[in-house]
């Protein structure tokens, strides 16, 4: 299996930040995801949407990164929303019991609507 170089992009919408991981979340470069979220958290953002449309592979290292983000947001009573997840990703999160610690939406716009209005 070949590795795809991992990168992160992000943008801000209202009081939320949307993070776009790209590539396999399976090595140290996944730390960039935690760093990127940390930057927004440092600016006082408490709502983070992670759009997984360009990440369909995650391993234990990636899970560890995600745990860090969940923990960081929990410490500031923030919210993490995950969107555009592949079935493999959803299955993995479900099996590991991570779903209870995040809000999952099919697409990014659903998450943003929820964060804005408090309803689906």
């Amino acid at each position: 299996m070949k590795s795809v170089q991992f990168s992160v992009a992000s943008r801000r919408e209202g009081d939320a930040a949307i993070i776009y991981p790209k590539g396999y979340l399976n090595n140290l470069s996944g730390e960039n995801l935690v760093i990127e979220c940390g930057i927004y958290i440092g600016k006082g953002i408490t709502k983070i949407v992670v759009n997984f449309s360009e990440t369909d592979l995650i391993n234990s290292i990636g899970i560890s990164m995600l745990l860090q983000i969940i923990e960081d947001l929990r410490n500031i009573k923030g919210t993490i929303c995950c969107t555009n997840m592949s079935k493999l990703l959803r299955d993995t999160f479900e099996m590991l019991g991570l779903m209870q610690h995040m809000l999952v939406f099919p697409v990014e716009s659903d998450a943003l609507t929820y964060l804005k209005t408090g309803k689906l």
Binding site: L28, I61, S64, L67, I70, E71, T92, M95
Partner: protein, 396 residues
Amino acid sequence: MSTELKKALYNISALADLGQAITSENNFHEKIQSVLYVITGTFLANKGALLFYDKPTNKLNTLAQKGFAPADLDRLNPEELMSLGRNESYLIGDDPVLTVAGAEILAPLWVRDEFIGALLLSGKLTVGPYTLEDLELLNVIANQIAIALNNHSLFLDLSDKLEENRRLYEEMRHIYHGTLQAFAAAIDAKDAYTKNHSHRVAKYSAAIARELGWNEHEIEGMYVAGYLHDVGKLAISNTLLNKVTPFTPEEREEIRKHSTLSHSITAKIKFPWKNVEDMVWHHHERLDGRGYPEALAQESLSDGVRILSLADSFDAMTSQRPYREKMDVQSAIGELRKNLESQFDHKVMLVFCKVLDKEIKGELPEPDILPHLDRDSDLSVISTLLEGIIVELSTP
């Protein structure tokens, strides 16, 4: 797929991740950092630490950690840790001495008689305490990390990176094989009649690959593919696998799904070998394009696939199945011979005959095929048959 199976796969993948982290080209610090992430990710722990014992100062140094307060880690006494079981993970509970660091699980790391350090975990995210399986998996991981760290300290003395990597790789192979064997046993246990089938197919395939002149790394990959080729059968019902009466067309379809399932399972594991998932996927393809699941044409069949296909069929024919008696070795070889070009590869068959003949003649110190053949076989008859086929297939 059941949750347990998914979890087992996740754990196996985690072991593969660990191997990847340890044997990667990264520098030591990055390796250790990756190892820590693999562990915290596997055990869903918010806190994790890897401590290394420095003998001259009798202190524990933190190699990598997340979530712990450094001062708490400093309060751990190495002597206390040494008195615990070796590479046996330990639920701290309310142990007055060990709670100082705020860890829930602790694994003292040992290599033989050498205390290497400790692994600490805490803060499991998901509900429920750490289970017995968690502890067992951690024991395996602790062993590996102990070896890697020990090799690192040896490495500091020897300062010979290549040698270190080679040794690490050797150690990693053991864990892979241990895990794969456990997995293969689970596959073979589903079906009383295929007991040890995966193990034998792995051995036969590797023997053929070696005779073909593949390098050790490639042979290893072949071996692993042999072990896992039928892993997809885990997802197929026991009743169907053990059925005595002939299969209906629908049942045949169902059974045939196993190679695609084997592919989807192995494709999720990041192996250090190339093409394992391709080999398991196509082990029931045929040279005449009438195999399954993709009915590939022969140009698309790699040597690995051809080897696996022959080894698998040979073992299937020489093993008893619920619906038929087993064939004797000569008949099975005759059957392979008869289906050359339509099903089996000429070159692979020639090499298989050569290696088996060498084993019978005692020319190979560690035979891979011979020990598994029917004890009542007449070896001189088989050898004569093989010699004939070798001559025939060697002449252009």
